[in-house]
């Protein structure tokens, strides 16, 4: 700790009095203190850009920090964090990103930061039980937006940023962690609607509603649990049926739950336990060793994996055009994915073994300058399919050297990935003769 400046040292009490760290052992505190760095941000400066996997966990020690929803939601202010509040930890247990984080107000903002790899080492050993008692505003906001986006009809709901703040300020949400079938079963209280919030260890996408543990297909090896967030059912039912936040001092009753029950039934996964462990990672062979063919194969693999209809000829007929595209601009892959009915988001992530492990999968990453499908990314292995090497299981450290680097930051090189998922309206029926009806 001797290398720390006096200014950094003066802020350490704020860090260790923060709720997330208050129960740490003195030894861990000493270890942690030696690694923290003081950062300074100008008013409005972006601390964490939208779509970027956090590089650090930060504690606000001076000023305010603004948590902002995503641009396609109109960048609402979801929360303002004050001195002693910690952010960025969600990346460890959630494997997803939402919105951006900025320095708020017109004065400079100071944070103490800890590299996320260092935080994760502490989290795994000491903090995991504590994280159940922490729910971040952006986490609730993201679950609500995903919930709204996935329902087929348009609901008249209050402003979701306001609803998120209401939920947290009125203790209407709880968290639960589950490590899968080998873990002790946890009780999912019927008083809450349960959403998958951290999907690192499961195939279910963030925002999926689950009613029972057996709906969670736990077939990924992960050091992190499946994180579930329960939101008070009576509150959610009241909001869904009235479109308003409850008036102050209102006691919520369970009388108006019918609409919510229908939505829950509609949106729960239809996975049967027998299918859970039969996961197959598609790996198609390339016709030619060209870039265009590597794109065709990557989307063939990903569509088959996500059970979305796909015909390689559709892309192959554009072969010449594919060859001339700016192959490292990931938005181009997003466009193709969306054309096949997938949801796709470009994500920046540290090209390190830990950075890979925090990346949501499946994803398309650039390996040896061609797109490859990353099926699984864990601490000790990654499963990857590419047109060059087929299906491979390698060490994360062996993969990071082959990733295309987008940017080089002092902390780590940064790569880009396109995180893919099915959309609620994505088709499942494969191409057959009925697809041709339109042509005749």
């Amino acid at each position: 700790m001797s290398h720390l400046s006096n200014q950094t040292r003066s802020f350490l009490p704020i860090l260790f009095q923060a709720r997330l760290f208050e129960a740490l052992s003195p030894e861990t505190c000493r270890r942690l203190a030696s690694k923290v760095v003081l950062n300074q941000f100008k008013p409005g400066e972006i601390i964490q850009a939208e779509g970027a996997v956090p590089m650090a966990v930060r504690c606000v020690v001076q000023g305010q920090v603004r948590i902002v929803g995503s641009a396609n939601q109109g960048t609402p202010t979801v929360a303002l964090l004050n001195e002693g509040d910690i952010f960025g930890w969600e990346a460890c247990v959630r494997k997803t990103t939402c919105g951006s984080i900025r320095a708020a107000g017109l004065e400079e903002v100071l944070t103490l930061s800890l590299l996320i790899d260092d935080f994760e080492a502490i989290a795994l050993s000491e903090l995991l039980p504590t994280l159940i008692h922490h729910i971040s505003p952006i986490e609730v906001y993201e679950l609500l937006t995903r919930f709204c986006d996935s329902i087929p009809t348009r609901l008249n709901l209050p402003n979701l940023a306001e609803l998120s703040r209401y939920i947290l300020s009125h203790d209407c949400a709880i968290a639960a962690h589950w490590f899968g079938e080998l873990d002790t079963p946890i009780h999912l209280s019927a008083d809450y609607t349960w959403f998958v919030s951290g999907a690192g260890a499961t195939d279910l996408t963030v925002g999926t509603i689950v009613g029972r543990l057996d709906q969670i297909s736990q077939f990924k090896r992960s050091l992190m649990p499946v994180r579930l967030i329960g939101i008070d059912r009576n509150l959610l039912a009241s909001v869904v049926s009235t479109g308003l936040l409850p008036a102050p001092n209102t006691t919520l009753s369970s009388s108006s739950n019918a609409v919510l029950e229908q939505l829950e039934n509609l949106m729960q996964p239809l996975i049967t336990p027998s299918k859970k462990l039969n996961k197959v990672y598609p790996s198609h062979s390339a016709h030619r060793a060209t870039f265009a063919e590597s794109v065709v194969i990557a989307f063939w693999n990903i569509c088959e994996y996500l059970n979305v209809p796909y015909r390689p000829e559709l892309l192959r007929q554009w072969g010449a055009s594919l060859e001339t595209q700016p192959r490292h601009q990931m938005n181009w892959y997003v466009g193709i994915a969306e054309a096949f009915g997938l949801s796709a988001q470009v994500v920046k992530f540290p090209a390190t073994p830990m950075g890979l492990a925090r990346l949501q999968t499946p994803a398309i990453v650039m390996v040896d300058a061609v797109p490859a499908v990353l099926y699984e990314a864990e601490y000790d292995r990654v499963i990857l399919a590419s047109s060059k090497h087929g299906l491979t299981q390698i060490l994360p450290s062996a993969l990071v050297d082959r990733l295309t680097v987008h940017d080089r930051l002092p902390e780590a090189p940064i790569s880009l990935a396109v995180v893919l998922a099915r959309q609620p309206q994505s088709r499942t029926d494969q191409f057959g003769w009925w697809w041709l009806i339109g042509f005749f």
């Binding site: 008013p43 409005g44 603004r66 902002v68 960048t75 202010t77 303002l80 320095a103 017109l106």
Partner: protein
């Protein structure tokens, strides 16, 4: 024969003079003026009664009928304005001819207004502009989400002249605003804050305060009439070829140009 213009130590020959007119954008106004004075205006007749009306603003029934009385009236007016009678008269005649010429566009004013009504709409809005995009974004959050006062921030942080008025701008024609700002005002949602809208190196936050839907007032009528006239004149002049030629002494110079007697056909404005 070569002409020179001497201006202090500067001496320009005819070619250089022509080049200077082109370079400073003075050739087109000059050609328009020549076209008007030698091709168009001479064909517009002006009566003594017209001159009386122009100089006095009185009704034509009160105009002196006798020629002698009219000359006396002109002399009195010239003394009042401290100019010669001929200057006063030629100035009045030109104004009347221009006025009559512009009147010929009257039938087209309403349709022109209806065609481009939205460009005559006016707005009052509040503006904050800064060259720092991150600051602009944060100011937007502070005003939109945290309830801070727009005008206070404009006075403190805006980098344009609107800083002095607490960010208030207008009323101003929507058509005179940059497209990116004009387009957000077309929704007419007063009180709504938009931004940051990037215009060049500046990032703007705007809030629509009032929207004035355009109506055809006398002032706007005059504005459209002038615009139609200008468009017609420009089109007419563009249609006439011009070039600089080496003139022989016997060839007419500008003052000897034949004054036209063509009637004015403003229907050409339809096709311009």
């Amino acid at each position: 024969m070569t002409f020179y213009l001497r201006f202090g130590n500067l001496q320009l020959n005819d070619q250089q003079l022509y080049d200077a007119l082109v370079q400073y954008g003075l050739l087109d106004p000059l050609l328009e003026r020549l076209f008007l004075d030698f091709e168009v205006l001479p064909s517009i007749s002006v009566t003594d009664t017209d001159i009386f009306e122009r100089l006095t603003g009185l009704n034509r029934t009160e105009a002196p009928v006798e020629s002698q009385a009219f000359e006396a009236f002109l002399l009195e007016q010239a003394q009042q304005y401290d100019v010669s009678v001929s200057v006063l008269k030629s100035k009045a005649i030109r104004e009347i001819q221009m006025s009559k010429l512009k009147q010929q566009f009257e039938p087209y004013i309403e349709s022109s207004f209806l065609q481009s009504k939205s460009s005559y709409d006016q707005v009052e809005f509040s503006l904050i502009q800064t060259s720092n995009i991150e600051l602009a974004q944060e100011i937007l959050f502070l005003i939109r989400d945290d309830g801070f006062n727009f005008h206070d921030f404009a006075a403190q942080h805006s980098e344009g002249a609107e800083r002095n008025s607490g960010g208030k701008v207008g009323p101003i024609a929507v058509s005179s605003l940059p497209d990116a700002i004009a387009s957000v005002f077309h929704s007419r949602r007063t009180g709504e804050i938009y931004g940051p809208i990037t215009i060049g190196s500046q990032h703007c936050i705007v809030r629509l305060e009032r929207f004035y839907s355009a109506s055809l007032t006398e002032a706007l009528r005059s504005e459209i009439r002038t615009a139609l006239f200008a468009r017609w004149l420009s089109a007419q002049v563009r249609a006439i070829p011009h070039q600089i030629v080496r003139a022989e002494p016997s060839i007419a110079s500008v003052p000897q140009l034949t004054k036209g007697t063509n009637s004015v056909d403003v229907t050409a404005i339809e096709s311009t």
